[in-house]
Symmetry: D2
Subunit: 338 residues, 4 copies
């Protein structure tokens, strides 16, 4: 930790910082420059809060030199982590496209969706039984019954299922239904109690980025899960809030190489929620794979115009098929397969 | 709802929209302009999802003409709602300053804090027993024991207490300890299950704005609480995420007049979390009251340099006293008292 | 300047940084911590570009400890700078409200506007003769003729005039017409050639904040003017771009105390362009003065509904009069007059 | 144009809107819904300002149904526009990588740079002679002399040159030196006088996106150039300002498909200024091409560690070579060549 003092501070204020550091077991290296005095804290900087030092008289700024994340950091585990999801490997050389409808509606809809997803060549399926909706008056999901319909539909094609958990009280139900991958949605990225609970299971977790979460906050949210013992974490970039109104969210494609550098965990992208329009999905999907994403979460509905939610962002079955063909070529261009 | 068609669409696509509207019980008013055809949906537009129409062929854009919020809307209740919190009125002519430490630490700290808060002339007290922290390795709050210390300290001065609820499973404990005002934090603004549960109680709820929530999303989050039957909702602006790095969050002072226009519910401001620095708190507090806020949530610690969290943003006891004097003058300048 | 090395770097990389610093005349203080090596550069850090060091092998981050701005910095001139504009003092104890129409339209419109501005008690007038419009097909201003109409109208009430300069080639015309205050608009905040040219004059300059300029970039833009010899600079906060769509821009009220701390120059606020709606202007104006602004730029049109541009954000004459009454009370509440 | 009235307005207010529309030559279609009255304006909506209507009593919102851009719109010219730059085609099937140093430093530096750019297989070269720098105390470019060094270096390899114009007074010098492509930088995207002047030439213009410009504002800035008669416009996405601090700007990859839909003009991407770090350039470059960009502006310096500006974002010669190989594979995967 580096403490930058205001210009013109006296010895008393410098000593105050040194004393406070010592209180927390840290040594100091005081460097009196021409313009400013800078104090280096030597030792384990996690022992002391940055804000505590910032509150001391004469302190202008405090800068951490260590990354706050540990288990999820690349330095903790040099190799890429490959997560095994019912035999499907995520994070390795093979790119995984996880497709399916926004929400689970009926058994026939899910049966049809599963057929199309499998036919297109995808190995995992997505679908929401519990839906986080902006309005309390909108359709809130088919719930537990939806979980069952989803499981029944996907089983026929041996596809592991991905579905969102919103309420900590539903975790046992998810485990009872043997959901293969638990998705933590954007609005719950910093629902710390929920993160702690899924951290106690061994289920793979897809952690979506918060609406305007920094990459560092996102890594720290994953650290909450990891600290509980569950290291099967998959980051999912889904666009962030911006000033642009043409599309729903701004896909942060740069987050892909940044995460691949900072963490050993897999990174996937949700191009459907990012752009919010089906016609943008192919280009955003190609960009994501070209930038190094390990997979995608894509919305596909058997008949998009009848979808119960987010109808305008779902691909139709034929579009998904074509997307898969085009993504395979991109994957190959960067030495991966799909 | 207004449906704007792409230029050059044919009758088939226009009919498709009209048919879909009819399916949901809505009539249509088709207006064929020089450049574009525009379809007005006549009837209750909440019956149909905007996205469903957007997914239809030939539709360029869909615009809602009704506000999505109902109970919280000013049109639902023309007069300002005044909430009674143990005899203290929030939302009326008197401005309320709710002060106290970021986190409950020890009984002596809380006793001292309560004394200073009351002495400064505040009528309510704040303090966090459960803390949402970015890092799993940071201090997470004193928990239930903290609630008790807080209650004991505030009771002596007959001050109602405000404290944050993060986990839906703790709600009963909050009710058992008779917490006067439940605070829903920034990270939980769209934790819909939590909102639904506090909506079933009759406790006043302070709903902080999400990190980058639009005012409309914020109103809809409040609608989740209101829809459950609890109309005792207080909005708290606490700054939003921005590109500026000089301070922690950008206080959205414009949100104050906007909320006063859109909703009948009280609006308060948290200048401490907004700026993130104690030295900015007086100016931001004055701006908030001058812009029409009904109150403030201010951090005060008996000895800020020893605070266990957010030490750099807490006022000291003397600073709080001086702030109250200056805020009283601002309140009087706009015809209110404090 | 502090150079933070990546973890695990060797002596060769550390020596590379030390050598590069020496090349630019700076000494080094190498501190080898448990986790990382940190190098402090001792000497005048403005001699070397941060990016140059960041490009060296093994460098993780480079942090400046000196502020990049000099003449505009508070440390350069401890007292508040008070600018004399034709006898009207800006930056002192008296708050100045500069009012007038968005654009100069006709002589009668300007004559009437001037009358109302003076009657309301304002001492300076604003009006645009050259208008930066998003569309090339929108009204672009009345130009030089507009300058003359403006001058004629304001002279009668001895009010100095404020008007925007967009094109460096028009500077001589502005000087010929003896414009009292040159306004540099949001879109030109980093038009460095324009800044350099107004820096060579002695005319007071209102420098509006760029659409999403950081406070530091804004101060550096002012430094361009100051470096040319013109220290008569007035900062004008006018809202920044954000994700919120309810209003036009997000007024950054926090920028006021921040600027008052960082610079000795006056700070004013434009509540009309910030909110973009006349009905918000009173609340935003009060917030700005309460937060410490030295003045305001407010749009007033004799008949807002007929304004040639930005009609929805202009106050009417009576509204301006009432605003002045209310702002006088706020100014007095913080010990200033108006 | 659609005018949405506030709920509960009377006939007088509706008539006011209809009258105002008639004044500007537009007819009205009044639709009285259950909740609100909506007025459709029939005729050429560009004749009237949205703000003028918004200022009328009883008007809640005004929505345009026509795109404000004309010449640059895809509807104006269905086919992709291919721009011929000294024989090199931009906007067609072949992807163009334009490489070179951030700034022109010396003749040997430029000679070497040109050699490496040509050797890597690029057909155009970039380099800045006039540099927009945040600080007035930073290196401001080698100016006219730089233009000459650049021309000399590039000529040997028959590469057209791209360089930035900041000051309208330098346009003649640019034309005298026969600069092949004029670049308008981020900070000048809405320097309307500069846009008008380059609009009077026939030189191809690269128009970089403003720091936080919406896509619509960007298209309108291009419309300023096009309205002057110059249709040789190339959009360059270079990242926008965001809350994320890990990298310099957030590359808006979604802008690529959006622009390809809205305009017939070529779209390129500057991955170097977007990320601000050389190590991110390959991934961002691949993403851009995969998303459909027609080319890239990439920074390459013969010896990045000695660059006079932005040293940390320049690729070295070998890195450029490798990037070209990898981009060729991506281009082929989507059916283009490079």
């Amino acid at each position: 930790m580096i403490i930058i003092m205001s210009s013109g501070v006296g010895d008393e204020q410098i000593d105050g910082v040194v004393r406070k550091l010592k209180e927390f077991g840290l040594d100091s290296n005081v460097s009196r420059g021409v313009e400013r005095t800078v104090i280096g804290a030597i030792g384990d900087e996690t022992k002391i809060d940055k804000e505590l030092l910032q509150a001391l008289p004469g302190v202008e700024d405090v800068i951490r030199v260590m990354k706050p994340y540990k288990i999820v950091a690349r330095s903790y585990h040099k190799e890429d982590t490959v997560i095994d999801i019912g035999g499907v490997k995520l994070g390795g050389n093979q790119v995984q496209i996880i497709a399916g409808p926004c929400s689970v509606e009926t058994q026939p809809q899910m049966d049809e969706a599963a057929k199309y997803v499998a036919e297109a060549g995808c190995r995992m399926m997505r679908g929401g039984a519990f839906k986080p909706r902006t309005s309390p008056y909108s359709f809130q999901g088919t719930g537990v019954e939806g979980l069952e319909m989803f499981r029944t539909a996907a089983e026929k094609y041996h596809m592991p299922i991905v579905t969102e958990l919103m309420d900590v009280r539903m975790l046992d139900t998810f485990l009872d239904h043997d959901v293969d991958v638990i998705q933590i949605g954007t609005r719950n990225m910093q629902n710390f109690d929920l993160l702690k609970e899924v951290g106690r299971t061994h289920k793979p977790v897809i952690l979506k980025r918060g609406m305007s979460a920094t990459i560092s906050e996102w890594l720290m949210a994953a650290e909450y899960i990891a600290a509980g013992g569950n290291h099967n974490i998959i980051f999912c970039e889904r666009g962030v809030r911006s000033f642009e109104t043409y599309y729903r969210n701004m896909l942060d494609v740069t987050a892909i190489p940044v995460l691949k550098k900072e963490t050993h965990l897999p990174v996937i992208v949700d191009p459907s929620h990012a752009g919010g329009k089906a016609w943008m999905v192919p280009q955003l999907s190609r960009a994501a794979i070209a930038a190094g994403a390990d997979g995608l979460l894509v919305e596909m509905h058997p008949t998009p115009c009848d979808a119960w939610c987010d109808a305008d962002q779902a691909l139709g079955p034929q579009e998904l098929k074509e997307l898969m063909v085009s993504l395979r070529l991109i994957a190959q261009a960067i030495g991966r397969d799909l």
